[in-house]
Every structure is written in C-alpha cells, then in structure tokens.
C-alpha cells in the first residue's frame, strides 16, 4: 500500500518492493532510437565488434528526424541503420515516412500499460499517456542497452497533478500543459515522476494525454503518466491488444507535492522565447507579427490537432506574408485527416504539407527560420537556435492559437476569430 505508479512499475520489474531514491537495475520492455541509431551503431560496433544485440525483439528504430534525408550524410546514416536492422534481425524498424517515433511506437502497439520504455530521445516520456514508465536516455546508454539489455533507474519521488472541470471553447490540452509548466518551472519536476489524477482525466482524449505527457520533460520530469481507463481500453481494443499490465498509485500514495487545476480556468497561452516556462496568456502578446506558423510534431501533429486547426481555417485564407507549415505526426494520422477532408482544407487555406516526421522542429530542414524571424509553433521547445537560427524567435502554442494566428499574421487568441 501507499505506493506510487513509479514505485509499482519499478517494483514489479525488479521483483521486490522499492523505495524512493533507491537505485534499481531493470531490463526495459523496449528501447527506442531514431535517426541517431547510426551514431549508436558506431558505438555498438566499436564496443562489441561483430557482436549481436541482446534482445532484438525489444529494440524499435524509427527514422523520423531528418526524413527524407536532407544531406548525403543523413542518407548514409539511414542506409547504415537499414543494414544494421537486417543483420541484427530487428523487426520493429519503421523507415522514412511512417511518422515521428513517439506517434509510431504507440500506433504499432509497442507501448503497453505498465511497461518500461527507454528511448534515446527526451520526449520518450510521451508514453506516460498510455500508462507506461517511459523516459529518455542518451545514445551511449542506448548502445549499452543494445548490448546488455539492462540499465539503472533511480526510483523517483512523485508530483501529483489533480485535474477537475472541462475546457472552455478555444482552449485545449496544450494550454493546460503550458500553464502547468509555467507554474512548475523548467526544472521544477527534475528527477521526479508526474502523475495526472482527478475527475477530469477521464474526459481527456488519448491525443490530449499524449500532448501533456510529451511535455513532461519540459519541466524536467523523468516520467509524466496517466492512469489506464476506458479511453485507454478503447485505444488498445482498436489495436487488438489486451491490457494486462496496467498499474496505478494507491489511494494513500505519498506525493511530494499536489497541485490542482480546474480546466475551466485555463485560457489560451503562449510560451515566449527562449524558455518553455516563459508562459503568458495569448492576450498579453496580441498583435505580435509572425513570419511562420508550424503545426505538427510529436506534441500536436495528430488528427485531433489538424482538425482543430482546420475548424478555424475552413473557408479562409491565411494572411499574406505568413507561411503555414503542417507536418502530420504519422502516415496514419495523415491518412485519417485526408479521409475527413482536413488536409484539403488546410492546403486550400494556404498550408504547405510536409511528409510525416519531425519537420523543422529541430532546425535541420523543411522550414528553418531566417535571422530575426518569428515562428509560432505547436512543438514543445522554443530554445534559442532550436529551429536552426539563434537570432530567430519561437513561440509555442496550441493548434487553435496556431490556426488563428496564421489567419491574421499576428499572435491571436483563437476565441476571437469567428468560425
């Protein structure tokens, strides 16, 4: 009794009761890597020349970061990964065009409730949406995991976030998580687990949960997790996967801190450059001109996000002088949106469609900024230099705010634009 989600998952993985602060050794259920697999392969091969990965079935590789390849060096990296997965018998390999890793992993049924997933990408915490214990590691550690199949984790203390109420119109999960990050601070949940609890959790769609869990790392969190409930059940039923391992904290679990949010109090917000916790109401920034709007990424590139934007853009054209770049999070989400006519609506309004993948999120290609330009993005990071140019500015907001701002060419409160 009195155990948190983190204690229960790590306890089960180690076969004993664990306590906070303790270091435990675990064999994760999955290890995710992406384009950075090429660099990891180099490390793997120089450490164990001619060696085999320990558990090929527990490795997933998704090419998503710079796809299709922007340079011949990227292309050579991709080729090296394809060769490696063939040689090593790694079947969970998803080539260019399938989507962003954090969308693809759950879509392919590789993230199960109660499982442990480590990924050499900081937004691996997204899988907390599916009741997984999921967190980021570096490339070297991924190479180590390929070799040994095990690593250490410190059992984190937990921050409990209690959610009540329902969103008002024009407000969405992105506004909520940005508001929370603004309060907690970019390091406020460092080393900690974050649990989302309370009656409002049941009303959050899986896409909302993914948006929120995805940004756990932006407050420093090790994991950001949701309980498994009816919506989780539906998600896995659609994949034809029975849920067997779901766990959640006890009612008397001891939290380091509890914070409460009423969703009906949340307003549209923006994280200003160059820190994610620099959060202010959209209303405070009204009128700031923007050069580019980017709708997409593992944070907000799903069907629900594209639809929210299309609902605002339908029948209109974006302001002249603004570029609207849209990157669906995966091929599946792209197809679903296409079948509903959403892609045609976005393109008619003036959007440039990118292939499923990370797009300009990490500043490598497909919409990098010029010096001094301002971009309003639905991604999760606005660090200086993130989109390829250190003298450019990135404002983070919801798909609704992104669409409203594309219409006017200025940062705009979505509640103000007539549908």
């Amino acid at each position: 009794m009195s155990e948190t989600f983190a204690m229960k998952v790590l306890g089960r993985a180690t076969g004993k009761k664990v306590s906070e602060g303790e270091i435990v050794f675990v064999e994760p259920d999955f290890v995710l890597t992406h384009d950075n697999s090429a660099a990891i392969i180099d490390k793997f091969e120089s450490t164990v020349p001619g060696g085999k990965v320990r558990y090929p079935d527990r490795i997933a590789i998704v090419l998503d970061h710079v796809v299709p390849a922007a340079t011949s060096r990227n292309a050579a990296g991709h080729r090296q990964v394809r060769k490696f997965v063939r040689e090593q018998g790694i079947s969970n390999f998803f080539d260019v065009g399938v989507g962003v890793c954090h969308q693809v992993m759950p879509e392919m049924g590789l993230v199960l409730p109660g499982s442990i997933v480590l990924g050499s990408d900081s937004h691996t915490c997204t899988y907390g949406a599916f009741n997984a214990f999921a967190t980021g590691i570096d490339r070297t550690e991924a190479a180590g995991l390929w070799i040994t199949g095990r690593t250490w984790l410190r059992v984190p203390a937990t921050i409990n976030i209690e959610l009540t109420g329902a969103f008002a119109g024009g407000v969405s999960a992105k506004d909520l998580i940005l508001t929370i990050i603004g309060d907690v601070g970019s390091g406020g949940a460092n080393y900690k687990a974050v649990e989302f609890n309370g009656p409002a959790v049941g009303g959050l769609r899986m896409s909302d949960r993914m948006t929120m869990a995805n940004m756990g790392i932006e407050m420093g969190a090790k994991i950001a997790a949701f309980p498994s409930n009816i919506r989780t059940g539906e998600y896995f039923r659609n994949l034809d996967i029975p849920i067997t391992g779901a766990v959640w904290s006890d009612h008397d679990a001891i939290y380091e801190r509890t914070m409460e949010y009423d969703l009906s109090d949340v307003v549209p917000v923006v994280a200003k450059p160059h820190k994610v916790d620099n959060v202010v109401p959209v209303a405070d920034l009204k009128g700031i001109g923007i050069d580019q709007v980017f709708l997409g990424t593992c944070t907000n590139g799903r069907l629900e996000d594209l639809k929210a934007a299309a609902d605002i853009l339908r029948g209109h054209t974006i302001a002249s002088g603004v570029r609207l770049i849209v990157g669906p999070a995966s091929r599946n989400e792209f197809l679903k949106a296409d079948r509903q006519g959403i892609i045609a609506e976005l393109v008619s309004a003036g959007a440039v469609m990118l292939p499923p993948g990370c797009g300009p999120c990490l500043g490598a290609h497909q919409g990098v900024l010029a010096p001094g330009e301002k971009c309003l993005s639905t991604a999760n990071r606005n660090f200086r230099g993130r989109m390829g140019e250190k003298d450019a500015e990135i404002y983070l907001a919801s798909p609704e705010t992104a669409a409203a701002s594309a219409l006017t060419g200025r940062i705009t409160d979505p509640r103000e634009v007539a549908k």
Partner: protein, 163 residues
C-alpha cells in the same frame, strides 16, 4: 586551470550544442568546434584539459542529445559544478565519464579568481580556502565513471568474460 563561470540557471542543450548540428557532428573533435557556441563563442578556443565549469540550477536541460556531455568530456573538462543538473544530462555525463558535482554551497561561495579542485572518491570540492562535501556516486555508477564511461565499462566487463 581556467574556471568557466556561467552563473545563470537552465543552460539548455541547445546552448551547449545547437540542435542543427546533431546529425552532422558526433565525434569529439567535430563537437568541439560548436561546443557552447550560442552561450560563449570563446569557449572552444580557450578550454584546456583540467578546466572546470561552475554554473546554476538545472544545467543541461532539454534534449537527450549527448554531444554536450561527450563534448565537455572530450574537451577535458575536469568537472561541472552546479546547483543542480537536469536528469538526462546527469545520466549522460555518467555514461560519458564526465564528473558532475551537485553543490549549491560551492557555487554560492565561488568568486572570480578562486582556485577550484574536486575529489570524487571523497565527495569533496574545494573552492578557494573552503571545502564542501557532495554526495558521491553509488557503487556501479562510480565504477562506470572510473572506467571512463559506460561503453568502456561494458568493454572491460566483456573483456573479463562476466557477461
């Protein structure tokens, strides 16, 4: 020995190593050229083996990219002393064999020109004329650091036929 003093909090991975180079630079010498480029453009030209960095809270927050920790290790940084570290960076530093010291007191006490030294096994950092204790790493993680990083550690274990 030079002490690089960056007193601000939340120095993120893009400041330590810009994201636009993540798929063009992965070796020590390649990373060195751009290390701290957007934070202190003079750093990579000045840094010498044995140098120390002193900084604020949440150092290394952001991406899981390892170029920052790998680059600092390659540059020969003896230790980064901070009020606190972001967690993926903390892990990554152990994996790269880069010594991190969490000591808000040492950071507080430091003033320009102080000599700084670190004894990881004893868990002790000296700033000017004062010594501060910091929690040493537990068992296997100290071994990883002592072996010079995770893969070096694994190589050794494989070498001894323990796996």
């Amino acid at each position: 020995m030079t002490v690089f003093h960056y007193p601000q909090d939340d120095i993120n991975t893009d400041l330590l190593f810009p994201g636009k180079y993540t798929y063009t630079c992965s070796t020590g010498p390649e990373i060195m050229e751009h290390l701290l480029e957007d934070l202190d453009p003079t750093f990579s030209g000045r840094v010498q083996p044995g140098d120390i960095i002193i900084t604020g809270d949440n150092f290394g927050c952001g991406s899981s990219r390892e170029q920052p920790s790998l680059g600092l290790r390659h540059a020969g940084i003896r230790a980064v002393i901070a009020r606190s570290f972001a967690r993926i960076f903390y892990r990554s530093a152990i994996n790269q064999g880069l010594l991190l010291v969490t000591s808000p007191e040492a950071v507080e006490h430091y003033s320009e020109g102080d000599e700084v030294s670190v004894d990881p096994a004893a868990g002790e950092v000296t700033v000017g004329d004062r010594k501060f204790a910091f929690p040493p790493l537990p068992g296997e993680m100290l071994e990883i650091l002592e072996d010079g990083g995770l893969l070096e550690h694994i190589s050794k274990r494989f070498g001894r036929g323990e796996e």
